[in-house]
């Protein structure tokens, strides 16, 4: 089964680091991605709310392209593309919709063949590669790094279309990050809206919703937020100076794409992961993680020292007692 | 009656048939799938000369025919009073059967004795029989199951026929010597405007008859069956004999429905649907090999097993019928019951064994 790859338009612009890190991580894991020839926009423009057939036609065009390239599955990093491709595929099951879309396309979908399945890159990695295989390839565990995985609002919803993970409490990214050696903090806002779609029109809403997310992550002790969505990433990262932090402003919560951390753990050079393109300095997180590790090591050392001291004391005591005994006898 | 012979050149046959059949529906052998059956022939159609799988008896004695329709009529003033009106109009068209063999034609003679000349004249049969001219083709070969010469029939027997055609010559020189057997046959033959068959051809026809007769004799010398009617009656209670004879019989009706002499029927009434007030009485072929044939209303069946049923078939043809009809055997030796039987039950063997078996134990 061949895997088609649909980067989505943001992968060529605002989320180039997501695109780069995805390809790098997949390469490191030996996942072959076949680019859909002549791929186009998925239709996830504001128009998709107004004209389903046109939006569906754009998605269908890409799916047909993937099928013609011999692929039975399409993976995409972008949840928005995922949602749109999946919805289109779902709607294409209806003969009427399929016919309508067919009239809009030069190369309509084959009436009898099923369109390729669509999944997120996250799903691909967790289900196809598998956590065990990933764990086995980790070269540089993310030790000490406390992360809050944030899935975003559309990756699992609507549940009957997306059919991936628990719609209210997904855990696949948690599991993946755990496999990489990171420590996942309990984060209740995994699928809450970050407000990104109001990014231009109602910044007050964005400020409130994003602030709540970042604050909860910080309260939970996270060093970083990990996302799987270009829009979320931009929103949480770029606007960190603007949001209403619950406990006072700060610009110290790096927001990673999960693929960046994955790549890092697999030993992909940072340059290929686009870490430099993040707004909030990722080093903050790594530094804190290092501190945790150092503190832990220090504590362990202290404990070891204490134990050694105790043991020494005990030995000394025994020696003393033995000496006393000997002395008594003497 | 005046006896004369005409000659039909091979290439003239279709035309001659068209002329003979003027005003009549012609039934001639036609291939249907892997069988040859009698079917209405279109004008000008070159007839098939092969012997049919099924004899032409259905033309005169249909597989199933409506004897009459019954119509219930209600008294408009009192729906409780119903009268029944019968409609027994039968649409019978003049017909001509071409291409049957002497054994097929003689079948009608067996029927005639029962349905025309017996105590009850069957109007349906009579009407069709009288409307139908039988043009028969004499045999030129002895088939492996042919035994017409045992039964009083033969490869050129004219019993039951109106016209007998004998193939003479071969290839492009070939043709048929046609001899009218009956007045009606003569009249029909005249319609065809054919040349007289010269003496050479008449002799050739005689030679064909003799040769086929000889071939048959060589294949199976005709046994003496004069004692068979009594012997079969003596064997009536010999259950072991009939068990052995019928072991392999499947008790289907192929032998009787293929037989040119089997004339038994069943009567059933059926509703016509529609308003529920109409129905029809059907007469359809029945066969003594079926357990239903003699099943009584009480459920009792005097011929319970297939052995008793097979005994009846052989007995009827070679004993009971001859005893009622001046010794005429109601079997023409066409052999279809043997070739058509799924398990090759051989009536010849049964007749011979029944006749011989008694000779072995004359006073048993």
């Amino acid at each position: 089964m061949n895997l088609a790859y649909y980067p989505g338009c943001s992968g060529l612009g605002t989320s180039r680091e997501y695109e780069r890190s995805t390809r790098a991580a997949c390469a490191a894991l030996g996942v072959k991605l076949t680019d859909i020839p002549d791929w186009s926009c998925c239709g996830s423009t504001p128009a998709h709310a107004l004209e389903h057939a046109l939006s569906g036609a754009l998605s269908a065009r890409n799916l047909v392209g993937a099928a013609r390239a011999g692929c039975d599955t399409v993976a995409t990093p972008c949840p928005s593309c995922l949602s749109n491709l999946k919805t289109a595929r779902h709607r294409m099951a209806d003969d009427g919709f399929r016919a309508k879309v067919g009239r809009l396309l030069d190369q309509p979908a084959d009436a009898l063949a099923a369109l390729p399945d669509v999944q997120s890159v996250l799903e691909t990695l967790v289900t196809r590669v598998g956590l065990d295989a990933i764990r086995a390839k980790v070269r540089q565990p993310l030790a000490g790094l406390r992360v809050a995985p944030y899935y975003g609002c559309i990756m699992t919803r609507p549940a009957d279309v997306m059919r991936f993970d628990d719609p209210e409490n997904p855990t696949s990214m948690d599991d993946l990050l755990t496999a990489l050696g990171a420590e996942v903090v309990p984060f209740p806002y995994k699928v809450e809206c970050c407000g990104a779609s109001y990014g231009v029109t109602r910044r007050d809403i964005v400020a409130r919703l994003s602030g709540r997310l970042l604050g909860a992550a910080r309260d939970a002790g996270a060093h970083a937020v990990v996302v799987a969505c270009p829009l979320c990433q931009m929103n949480l990262d770029l606007r960190q100076t603007q949001v209403e932090w619950p406990g006072g402003k700060a610009v110290d919560m790096p927001v990673f794409y999960f693929t960046q951390l994955l790549g890092r753990a697999l030993g992909v050079p940072d340059a290929e992961l686009g870490l430099e393109q993040l707004c909030v300095d990722p080093a903050i997180a790594f530094r804190r993680a290092a501190q945790v590790v150092a503190a832990r090591q220090a504590e362990e050392a202290a404990q070891a020292a204490k134990a050694a001291a105790q043991a020494a004391a005990k030995a000394a005591q025994a020696k003393q007692a033995a000496a006393a005994n000997e002395g008594g006898r003497a | 009656m005046m006896s004369f012979a005409r000659y039909i050149a091979r290439g003239e046959l279709a035309r001659a048939l068209d002329d003979m059949a003027r005003g009549r529906v012609t039934y001639a052998p036609r291939r249907e799938g892997d069988a040859v059956v009698f079917r209405p022939r279109a004008e000008g159609e070159e007839p098939l000369l092969a012997r049919a799988t099924v004899p032409p008896k259905g033309v005169i004695f249909p597989q199933s025919e409506r004897l009459f329709a019954f119509i219930r009529e209600k008294d408009p003033n009192d729906p409780g009073r119903t009268t029944v009106r019968l409609d027994s109009t039968v649409d019978i068209k003049p017909a001509l059967i071409f291409g049957g063999r002497p054994c097929d034609a003689r079948g009608f003679h067996i029927f005639d004795r029962v349905y025309l000349n017996g105590p009850h004249r069957d109007p349906y049969y009579a009407a069709r029989r009288e409307a139908t001219v039988v043009v028969t083709l004499a045999c030129t070969k002895a088939g492996s199951t042919c035994f017409c010469h045992w039964t009083g029939c033969g490869p050129a027997d004219t019993t039951g026929s109106d016209i007998l055609l004998t193939p003479v010559g071969s290839g492009n020189d070939g043709g048929f010597v046609a001899v009218a057997v009956t007045e009606r046959g003569a009249a029909v033959l005249e319609q065809a405007n054919l040349p007289e068959a010269d003496a050479a051809r008449a002799d050739a026809a005689q030679a064909v008859h003799a040769a086929t007769r000889a071939a048959l004799g060589a294949q199976s010398p005709a046994p003496d069956l004069s004692a068979t009617p009594t012997r079969l009656l003596e064997r009536f209670g010999d259950n072991d004999f009939w068990r052995d004879m019928s072991d392999k019989c499947l008790s289907c009706g192929a032998c009787t429905y293929l037989c040119p002499t089997c004339y038994c029927f069943n009567i059933t009434d059926e509703n016509d649907g529609g308003d529920g007030m109409r129905g029809r009485r059907l007469r359809s072929w029945d066969n003594c090999m079926s357990s239903l044939f003699t099943r009584e209303a009480s459920g009792h069946n005097p011929r319970m097993g297939k052995a008793l049923r097979l005994r009846n078939r052989v007995g009827h043809k070679f004993s009971y019928y001859p005893q009622l009809h001046e010794g005429v055997v109601s079997c023409n030796g066409c052999g279809r019951c043997i070739t058509g039987c799924p398990v090759s039950v051989d009536i010849r063997e049964m007749v011979v064994r029944a006749t011989e078996a008694n000779e072995e134990t004359p006073n048993a």
């Binding site: 628990d166 409490n169 | 729906p79 509703n271 308003d275 529920g276």
Partner: protein
């Protein structure tokens, strides 16, 4: 045959879109029809009298009524023709109301269709034959499955009516869900105070044989004569000897056994009596946690038991009981709320179910009636109740309303205020369904007297915040999102069918719906009967029900059984299969397919033939289709009768 046809106007119900006199006129021409007329209301007293008169006057021996559905009035008209001296099966109905006049307005098409339906009925009737029921003896004992309040009520009513009752309960005590409740709505009286005496009555009634910790394994037979195998599961305590003194519980060293009776709020001992009022008050060992079973050594209970009742080697035992009727009262189970990940999916210790809360409220519960948070034992000051968790929610495949949650939530909110006077309660609800006597008044009191905050809307998520929880939902009346910080969240979990219900239904040969609730015979008119004669339903096994309804159904089912048994002998429906032994070749295919085991082998003059056990056959006709030679025919629906209808339409 002399057939009479009566075409009903049903006022204007049929007459409005069907030419009724015209149909009657056409029918007069049908075969064997000697009388045909229209009638205003065939089912009315004068309508029926006219049929009786016509039968007598015209010497009819068969009647067709064209009116409403036979599912409605076939029994009525069968009695009518019987009154006139005809056999009840010499009657057919043509449904020209539900299937004709009510579904189309084209008068010509309707009239033509009605006439055809009459014609089909006439054609079938022409082949009908009088049928006569057979009578047989009845075993006047009843099996009650389930010892919740519905089963208890049914058992007591039957026992008081003088018949022997076998009561089978899956748990080690009867009492069911009601025994776990603290108080009951709308009177807020003590649950165990009103249930307890009934439980004691069960244990003391001479007509009741109680098998607790037992399950029905197999059921065979038919109405009046069932044979039931009951598996008495091993308790490891000889209940003949156990006095229920509780010494074993005191001494049992294994104190962390799951406490099912207390809904897993807290733990119990491996050997235990579930609660002080248990009936039978006998101890039972949980072999999954008992040290004797897990580690192979302990034996403390055996040592301390004053009567020596402990039997570690006890095995299951199967007993067979003969009964004439069965009442199923298997109740319900709670919806598994962990499917709601947005409410924590079981991750948050202080988000609990309503029944767990009930145990916290109960004086005999694990906290002695003091409401304490499971996480830290603190008394909650703010309690949020969320309704419809697993009810009216298609996303979890529970589209139905569980019926009683609105009321118990109100009750629990009231009790919360009683227990913790300075607490605040919030109830998130979709609609308040308080349609019982005094119910609406009760919820009003909760709001008005007890100050419970009712918020109309769903909760979208619960987020832990420090040691409290942020409950976020929508107030649809205000049209705003609301967030309530809560110390304790109580989920009003809905009811679902009892686990194992479908399997039991298959043993009982009764139907169940998509959710495992048993199907009643008629949703309105036969609510406690099933489609299997002699099997009745009581309580929530048929669908979620509150206590009054369950008790009512228990009594209703008991009344049905007493009514059934009041007849000395029962009559079997003669619409059953019959074998024509002359046609039967003894291949046994009918025996293979019969779902009731109603066909058996019989030897006839050395040959094996099929024979129908008349009392067991239910008349489905599966065998008739199975039989290649048509030797087994379902009476009243024979091949020829159905063919007559087909031919009336299709023969041409």
């Amino acid at each position: 045959m002399r057939i009479g046809v009566f075409v009903c106007h049903c006022g204007s119900n049929i007459g409005g879109t069907v030419d009724v006199p015209g149909v009657a006129e056409v029918a007069r021409a049908y075969p064997d029809v000697v009388f045909s007329s229209d009638t205003m209301y065939a089912c009315s007293e004068p309508g029926q009298a006219a049929i009786v008169d016509a039968i007598k006057e015209h010497a009819l021996d068969g009647v067709v009524v064209a009116s409403c559905t036979p599912r409605m009035h076939e029994p009525t008209f069968r009695r009518t023709v019987e009154r006139a001296g005809l056999n009840r099966y010499m009657f057919e109905m043509a449904n020209i109301r539900e299937h004709v006049s009510w579904i189309g307005k084209d008068r010509e098409a309707n009239s033509n269709k009605a006439a055809e339906l009459v014609r089909m009925a006439v054609e079938k009737l022409r082949l009908n034959a009088p049928l006569y029921p057979k009578s047989f003896d009845v075993t006047k004992r009843v099996l009650v499955i389930g010892g919740g309040v519905a089963g208890i009520q049914a058992a007591l009513d039957c026992a008081d009516g003088g018949i022997e009752v076998v009561l089978v309960e899956r748990e080690s005590t009867i009492g069911g869900k009601m025994a776990k409740l603290d108080k009951t709505f709308p009177t807020v009286d003590c649950s165990s105070c009103i249930l307890g005496p009934k439980m004691v009555d069960v244990s003391q009634h001479p007509n009741i044989r109680l098998y607790a910790h037992a399950e029905v394994e197999k059921i065979s037979g038919y109405v009046g004569n069932f044979k039931v195998d009951v598996r008495r599961k091993a308790t490891y305590v000889d209940w003949e000897l156990c006095t229920g003194c509780g010494l074993c519980m005191e001494k049992c060293p294994s104190k962390k056994s799951p406490d099912a009776f207390n809904e897993h709020v807290g733990v119990t001992t491996s050997i235990n009596i579930p609660f002080p009022q248990a009936i039978p008050k006998k101890a039972i060992i949980d072999p999954t946690s008992c040290r004797q079973f897990v580690k192979g050594k302990c034996g403390v209970c055996a040592k301390v038991c004053p009567t020596g009742a402990i039997r570690y080697d006890m095995e299951d035992q199967v007993v067979t009981e003969d009964v004439g009727a069965i009442i199923t009262a298997t109740g319900y189970d709670l919806f598994d709320y962990t499917k709601y990940a947005e409410y924590g999916g079981g991750r948050y210790p202080d988000v609990i179910t309503s029944l767990q809360y009930e145990r916290l409220l109960s004086a005999s519960g694990p906290t002695g009636g003091h409401v304490k948070r499971p996480s830290d034992g603190k008394e909650p000051k703010t309690v949020v109740f969320i309704q419809c968790v697993g009810s009216r929610d298609r996303s979890v495949d529970r589209p139905y309303c569980s019926g009683f949650c609105c009321m118990y939530t109100a009750k629990q909110a009231v009790l919360t205020k009683d227990h913790i006077p300075d607490s605040r309660s919030y109830v998130f609800y979709m609609d308040i369904r308080a349609n019982g006597k005094m119910y609406e008044e009760f919820t009003r009191r909760a709001m008005e007297e007890y100050g419970v905050q009712y918020v109309r809307g769903r909760v979208s998520m619960i987020v832990p915040q420090g040691d409290t929880y942020l409950v976020r939902g929508v107030d649809t009346l205000l049209g705003e999102q609301v967030e309530v910080p809560a110390d304790l969240v109580v989920l009003a979990v809905g009811a679902e069918s009892s686990h194992g219900a479908p399997q039991l239904a298959e043993k009982l040969r009764i139907s169940y719906d998509n959710y495992g609730f048993f199907m009643e015979s008629h949703c309105k008119l036969r609510p406690v009967e099933t489609n299997t004669a002699g099997v009745y339903l009581a309580g929530a096994c048929q669908g979620p029900k509150d206590i009054p309804s369950s008790v009512g159904q228990g009594s209703a089912a008991a009344a049905k059984v007493l009514g059934l048994f009041s007849r000395g002998r029962l009559e079997s429906d003669p619409q059953i299969s019959q074998v024509d032994v002359r046609r039967c070749v003894g291949c046994g295919k009918c025996i293979t397919t019969c779902p009731y085991g109603a066909i058996e082998w019989m030897e006839l003059r050395g040959e094996m033939k099929a024979r129908v056990i008349e009392t067991v056959c239910q008349g489905c006709g599966i065998c008739t289709v199975t039989c290649p030679q048509g030797a087994i025919q379902l009476q009243h629906f024979t091949d020829n009768q159905i063919l007559a209808e087909v031919n009336a339409l299709c023969l041409s």
